[in-house]
């Protein structure tokens, strides 16, 4: 470190810096502000806007702080007359062609150009020539364009090339004819595309669904956590008068850095879908009538009391909060039922082990070798896939053993397309190779050996089982083999379960007791009654007969934000509950991070946070453990329980179950995975959204 350190002076203040570091990094770290447009900490340096010019002693001209490495003894002035004059001149140039349409621009109030124009701009322009006009591009249903406003910082271009891996955007033409666009006008299809909205410092790229909906200063900012996958992505909900208007990233370098996926960003539209359940409803023959909460809850208590012991099935969404799942599980056991599950798309149910990435999310970037088994990673956990991309671009050997070929925008070491049966066979061979079998024996080929070698010879390595592995007809065998291979090669094993809170669900007890029914069983044979928490049985499972099984019950309670057609057909009572943004709660991410959030938006209609509904139900049923007055109390109980639980390890080996040679696993389209995204019109209008829901799945 010491020989790497250099001493510099910024505005008269001595500072230590790392040799070769860019000036702007040092000034940022020391809270010295240097204006910028094109520089972005998470993107490669382009140095094309020149807004960051600073004076450096002995340099004949001002230098760009974002692209000038520090050197021993450098004396930098960020606010000298020379620096300010340079910055002001750049601003004047930028404003020559920038339209004066701030009053009708969505970026107004949160525009970097507007902010800096206040600081560095003149109040009159010396240019009287006409401003240029640039034709708008159609980038698809998520990102709106007003390209006349573009200042050519190329952040959007660099994001596409270096982060997303889709070099579709580029700069064409020259000088005044310079434009940002795609080669042949095409929408930008990528699961992270919305990030260019945040990156664009001006109003050239904005959110299409949010267009003209609100002004930034009218909204308050509330922390949220993504309800779509187990990464634990940090979000801000922007709320105006109780209504969630949009969702943006909340920076957390340990998890999502400054990015969020498109479904994190645009699924909020689903919160206000037309089929939101406004009030509790009771079935009345073939029709439904609204009732007050008291009547509804009493009816639920009564109905559940009539069910025989063990005759009720509890199915919960894996994106329910810890608090909800804790109370649901307590309720289930309180009325004598161990039939509770959240693994709705799983088909084989080996011993339940809390899913875990097995490592810190931030360490994924530094992996050197990775074997991914059964995962459409870019769809399952988009931002994890983007970290894998970082590792792969740096040279990590990333291999896939997948039932289908999915597109990865990075170098892939080996990609094996294998049916479920072939996946098992391939893993067996890999295990044999890891045990030392040579090429030619036990089916080992040079490729097997190469893969095993990449795992063995590298220091930072992992093996992951994705959602498709968990839907595998012999998930237990697959998991056992993967665990064995991990142990033999020294790789960390990661089990990437679906849902935002799969880990929390395990810890909160939302898995069946020994001998009780799992989700697969509950959805294939009808029970006396069901309690559904945020679940649409058909759309959320892969069991063809799921709706029929639930419909066959005598009594079905649905705690749901939505009065979907599917639920209307099977439920007896529907209780309106708050969506992820309308309740306080906690998610446990796949790296074991507990993240709590408060309710950001006002619940729609008469809906209530589900944990409160369950608490009242517990009391009505006369059960113990439902006296909490705040969700924090429920959380504390859940936490104590989780901390007291013995650590679990994924069992190794355990034999290989025989499965049909033609068995298949089903991939669920990106924007069909949960009730919220299924109801977000903008996401549904994307290329991924237009992929028809799979066979048995009926989106509401």
């Amino acid at each position: 470190m010491s020989e790497d350190a250099v001493n510099i002076t910024v505005d008269g203040v001595p500072m230590k810096a790392r040799k070769g570091e860019m000036i702007i990094r040092v000034t940022d770290a020391n809270d010295v502000y240097v204006p910028r447009f094109c520089y972005h900490e998470k993107l490669p340096v382009a140095a094309n806007c020149r807004m960051c010019l600073v004076e450096v002693e002995k340099a004949p001209k001002p230098l760009p702080a974002c692209a000038t490495p520090v050197m021993e003894g450098m004396v930098i002035r960020t606010k000298s007359a020379k620096a300010i004059a340079a910055q002001r001149s750049v601003m004047e140039f930028l404003l020559i062609n920038h339209p004066l349409d701030c009053p009708i621009c969505d970026q107004g109030g949160e525009c970097e150009l507007q902010d800096l124009a206040v600081g560095y701009g003149r109040d009159i322009s010396r240019y009287h020539e006409r401003k240029r006009v640039v034709k708008d591009k159609n980038l698809g249903p998520l990102v709106s364009t007003d390209m006349t406003r573009c200042i050519h910082c190329t952040r959007c271009v660099r994001f596409g090339q270096d982060v997303a891996g889709i070099p579709e955007l580029g700069t064409t033409g020259r000088g005044e004819h310079n434009e940002i666009g795609t080669y042949i006008e095409a929408s930008v299809n990528h699961e992270l595309s919305g990030n260019i909205i945040d990156l664009c410092p001006v109003g050239a790229l904005n959110s299409k669904p949010f267009r003209y909906r609100a002004r930034s200063w009218e909204m308050t900012q509330q922390p949220l956590v993504s309800p779509h996958d187990g990464l634990g992505t940090n979000l801000y909900g922007h709320v105006r008068r109780g209504r969630l208007m949009r969702v943006v990233p909340r920076r957390n370098d340990a998890i999502n850095e400054t990015w969020i996926s498109d479904r994190d960003r645009f699924s909020y539209e689903g919160v206000y879908s037309a089929d939101r359940l406004q009030a509790p409803m009771l079935r009345d023959g073939d029709s439904w009538k609204s009732v007050d909460w008291q009547t509804a809850l009493e009816a639920v208590a009564q109905g559940l009391q009539q069910a025989p012991k063990g005759g009720t099935g509890f199915l919960a969404s894996a994106s329910s909060t810890v608090e909800e799942l804790t109370l649901l599980s307590r309720l289930a056991r309180g009325i004598g039922s161990g039939n509770i599950d959240h693994r709705l798309r799983q088909t084989d149910f080996p011993a339940a082990v809390t899913p875990s990435l097995g490592m810190a999310v931030a360490d994924v970037d530094a992996l050197q070798a990775l074997l991914v088994i059964g995962a459409n990673l870019r769809h399952e956990i988009p931002l994890l896939a983007s970290r894998v991309r970082k590792a792969a671009v740096r040279g990590a050997k990333v291999s896939f053993l997948n039932p289908e070929r999915f597109e990865y925008l990075f170098p892939v070491a080996q990609y094996w397309v294998a049916s479920p049966a072939q996946q098992l066979a391939a893993l067996q061979v890999l295990v044999a190779a890891a045990r030392g079998a040579a090429v030619g024996s036990e089916g080992v080929t040079a490729e097997h050996l190469q893969l095993v070698d990449s795992l063995k010879s590298n220091e930072r390595k992992a093996i992951w089982l994705g959602a498709l592995a968990q839907r595998h007809p012999a998930f237990g065998s697959l998991r056992g083999l993967a665990a064995e291979l991990a142990a033999l090669t020294g790789a960390t094993l990661g089990v990437l379960a679906e849902g935002a809170n799969a880990a929390g669900a395990h810890l909160a007890g939302a898995v069946p007791d020994a001998g009780a029914l799992n989700a697969g069983q509950m959805l294939t044979t009808s029970l006396h009654s069901y309690v559904l928490l945020g679940v649409e049985p058909q759309a959320d499972s892969l069991v063809a007969s799921a709706a029929a099984a639930v419909a066959g019950a005598r009594f079905v309670v649905a705690l749901t934000p939505y009065a979907s057609d599917e639920l209307k057909a099977v439920a007896t009572i529907m209780l309106p509950i708050g969506s992820f943004a309308e309740t306080s709660g906690t998610y446990v991410s796949l790296e074991g991070r507990w993240q709590s959030f408060a309710g950001a938006a006002q619940p729609v209609g008469e809906s209530r946070p589900a944990w409160k509904v369950l608490r009242v139900l517990g009391n009505l049923l006369g059960l113990q453990g439902f006296a909490q007055s705040a969700s924090e109390e429920v959380l504390a109980e859940a936490r104590a329980l989780a901390d007291g639980a013995a650590p679990q390890a994924v069992p190794q080996g355990g034999g290989v179950a025989a499965i049909a040679a033609d068995a298949v696993v089903t991939d669920v389209p990106l924007y069909q995975i949960d009730a919220l995204v299924r109801r977000a019109p903008a996401l549904q209008a994307t290329r991924d959204g237009m992929q028809a829901p799979q066979g048995a799945q009926g989106a509401a």
Partner: protein, 167 residues
């Protein structure tokens, strides 16, 4: 990214050979550096202008996204992305040439060819590209550039000679 059918076949043997030789001059994996030369030979093979198909062919051949080829083609003034005549003529009208009568040169050329600057002759022979900025040949003002060759100290006779020789 690009269409399903390969367009590489649109590049002639000769063009591909030239591109290969340029790619070889850069380090492995830096074939993007060869875009400029690749486009030059491709434009040449197509009588003076690039088409979307040809640009995609170059992108495919160099294993680059099409936009990266289009960026270069649209940036440099020596590339034409719309149909035009095969010989590119531009008269310099910057200060030295202007002082030495470039306005008359432009007028003469336009009259002789019967087209305005920016247009091509109907027979596709000559493209009167643009009024060029200083080409650093002020000592020979007035001057014009024809297919990257400079012609200086222009007089009507000289212009006739140069333009009439173009096939």
């Amino acid at each position: 990214m690009t269409g399903s059918t390969s367009k590489i076949g649109l590049l002639t043997e000769h063009t591909r050979h030239e591109i290969d030789s340029w790619v070889a001059r850069f380090p492995e994996g830096r074939q993007r550096s060869a875009v400029l030369s690749a486009l030059r030979f491709t434009q040449e093979q197509n009588q003076g202008f690039l088409t979307p198909d040809l640009m995609e062919a170059v992108a495919e051949y160099l294993k680059l996204p099409a936009i990266q080829v289009f960026e270069v083609a649209s940036f440099y003034s020596m590339f034409e992305t719309h149909p035009c005549g095969r010989h590119h003529v531009s008269v310099c009208t910057n200060i030295s040439c202007m002082l030495n009568g470039s306005d008359e040169v432009v007028a003469y050329v336009e009259k002789k060819l019967g087209i305005k600057t920016g247009e091509s002759t109907p027979d596709g022979r000559i493209f009167l590209k643009r009024e060029e900025e200083c080409l650093a040949s002020c000592t020979g003002a007035p001057m014009m550039m024809v297919d990257h060759h400079f012609h200086e100290h222009l007089t009507p006779e000289k212009i006739d000679g140069v333009l009439d020789a173009l096939k």
